[in-house]
């Protein structure tokens, strides 16, 4: 008996450690591998008696999330949250690595009788359905939701390759690029490796402004190597296949997946100034669209948003607002 009890305790202790570890691991991976997008028409939710919107999710972890739930917090509305009708695996969110796809919750807000006309805030939280205290804390849901206003171009902007501060300092800046690397959990080699975002030494700065007819971009490669291309991925909405505009520094050339009359580009040093007609992207008159930026410098692949699994899915892209 004296020999059995320590063995039983050892097994119990080890099992509880492994369980806790695996659960926490899912939450650690969520930071870089769970994309969230709130889909609201015109980026403005207007409610009379009730209104509905969707919260899209895309899992690019090395494993499925066993039970994910969405909570809506509000004193002013009654909220009903339902999974999409074709989300057959709910509450499981399957990883795209194993054939999973983007899924969504449908949120219906019903105005309470005492709620008067005006502006209100509602809170959204993603949590483990088996334990509501286990919230996806490591995932910056605010960052995933934030819409980015693209300002009107500076009156001084001239697409000539000569970048100056007056032309671009008010334009919207995209920077802080990551490499997506697989590494073992907590440095323990016997556990399966997971994909994480690592700050890249190959950094990129892209600025955007616009007018009625064009999207203007200043791309700064910052450093120069043998082969260096920035790809700007643009999608009309979260269901569209993105178009890709490629900027190659060595060839000083901008290419597009379709014939691209009207794209103007001039290079100087590591910088390029580009004017892209919105009509070419079928975005003339559009209020918003979705953008991601990636870069390949020799063998180093970097991402502004998403990773190698999700790069073609606009769910992970930033929402550029033009109005």
């Amino acid at each position: 008996m004296k020999k059995v009890m320590p063995a039983v305790f050892s097994v119990l202790f080890t099992t509880s450690f492994v369980y806790a570890h695996l659960c926490n691991d899912v939450f650690i991976q969520a930071k870089d591998n769970l994309a969230v997008k709130v889909d609201i028409r015109d980026n403005q939710l207007r409610v009379n008696k009730s209104a509905e919107f969707r919260v899209y999710l895309l899992n690019t972890m090395d494993r499925d999330i066993a039970n994910i739930q969405l909570a809506v917090e509000s004193d002013d509305f009654d909220a009903v949250v339902k999974p999409a009708p074709d989300w057959t695996s709910f509450p499981e969110l399957e990883t795209k690595n194993k054939g999973g796809k983007k899924e969504y919750f449908i949120v219906r807000l019903n105005r309470k009788p005492a709620t008067e006309e005006g502006r209100y805030k509602i809170g959204l939280t993603l949590y483990n359905g088996e334990n509501k205290n286990m919230v996806f804390k490591t995932m910056d849901i605010k960052d995933a939701i934030v819409d980015m206003q693209i300002p009107l171009k500076s009156a001084e902007l001239n697409i000539d390759g000569q970048v100056n501060k007056n032309e671009w300092d008010t334009a919207f800046l995209c920077t802080s690029f990551y490499e997506y690397k697989h590494e073992s959990v907590f440095g323990l080699p016997w556990l399966k490796s997971q994909g994480v975002n690592k700050v890249s030494q190959v950094q990129t700065r892209c600025r955007f402004s616009r007018d009625e007819n064009n999207l203007y971009c200043m791309a700064d490669f910052q450093t120069e190597k043998n082969d260096d291309t920035i790809n700007i991925h643009i999608a009309k909405d979260t269901d569209s296949v993105p178009e890709i505009i490629s900027i190659n520094l060595q060839q000083k050339k901008v290419s597009f997946s379709k014939p691209s009359p009207g794209i103007t580009a001039h290079f100087s040093g590591t910088k390029a100034e580009i004017a892209i007609p919105l009509a070419l992207l079928d975005l003339k008159g559009a209020g918003s669209f979705y953008v991601n930026i990636t870069r390949k410098q020799d063998n180093t692949q970097t991402y502004w948003r998403g990773n190698d699994v999700s790069v073609n899915d606009p769910i992970v892209y930033a929402n550029f607002i033009l109005k």
Partner: protein
């Protein structure tokens, strides 16, 4: 007496307005320390770092500051605090200074700082910058990494300061507009089309 109170009031008001811009110019990020991966040592040098010596608990933490809004005009304008609020001197890598518009502004740079395990265990560091900040930082041509001191190195990742609100960083808030006419709001889009149809009908009936 009343005149004195009035003067004091005006002075306080002026003081508050003078302080407001300087406060708003300062920005900060949180630095979280992690062990480096193998790629960190790809460019490492042979030999050992003299400033770390043989002390095994001393850590040199290295990383890149490239927060989108980061810009300083002078290397004095950035400061680092540990979780107890103590200032830690920053080592700035001159070779990594990057200026987006080629002026004297620094928009991105590699930095390092020396600390120890106990300080790291206490929590994250706060990196602050702004025109009104003055700190005694050290500028080096390049931050060297030595293979012999592999265990002494750490890296940091930066993240924005969590907002002070009831809803923590892991929750998001959405703006919702309650509008009694919300259900008819989108019908306004139909108005131009309805007018065109009306004019066509009028033309068909009365003008043909």
């Amino acid at each position: 007496m009343r005149k004195t109170v009035d003067i004091a009031f005006y002075l306080c008001t002026i003081l508050i307005f003078c302080c407001l811009p300087s406060y708003s110019l300062e920005k900060s990020i949180i630095l979280t320390v992690k062990p480096p991966d193998d790629s960190f040592f790809e460019q490492a040098m042979d030999g050992s770092c003299t400033s770390m010596g043989a002390n095994r608990s001393v850590r040199m933490v290295v990383g890149l500051i490239n927060e989108p809004s980061f810009e300083i005009k002078n290397t004095e304008n950035a400061v680092l605090y540990d979780s107890d609020g103590r200032k830690i001197p920053i080592i700035m890598d001159k070779s990594s200074f990057y200026s987006e518009f080629g002026d004297s502004t620094i928009n991105s740079m590699r930095i390092a700082f020396i600390t120890d395990d106990d300080t790291i265990a206490k929590g994250s560091f706060r990196f602050e910058w702004g025109e009104n900040i003055r700190a005694d930082n050290k500028i080096v041509d390049s931050i060297a990494v030595y293979r012999a001191n592999k265990d002494n190195y750490r890296v940091f990742v930066w993240e924005n300061q969590p907002q002070k609100s009831d809803l923590a960083n892991y929750s998001a808030t959405l703006d919702v507009i309650v509008d009694d006419k919300a259900d008819t709001y989108y019908l306004w889009y139909l108005l131009p089309m309805a007018m065109i149809f009306a004019m066509l009908i009028v033309r068909r009936i009365f003008l043909t």
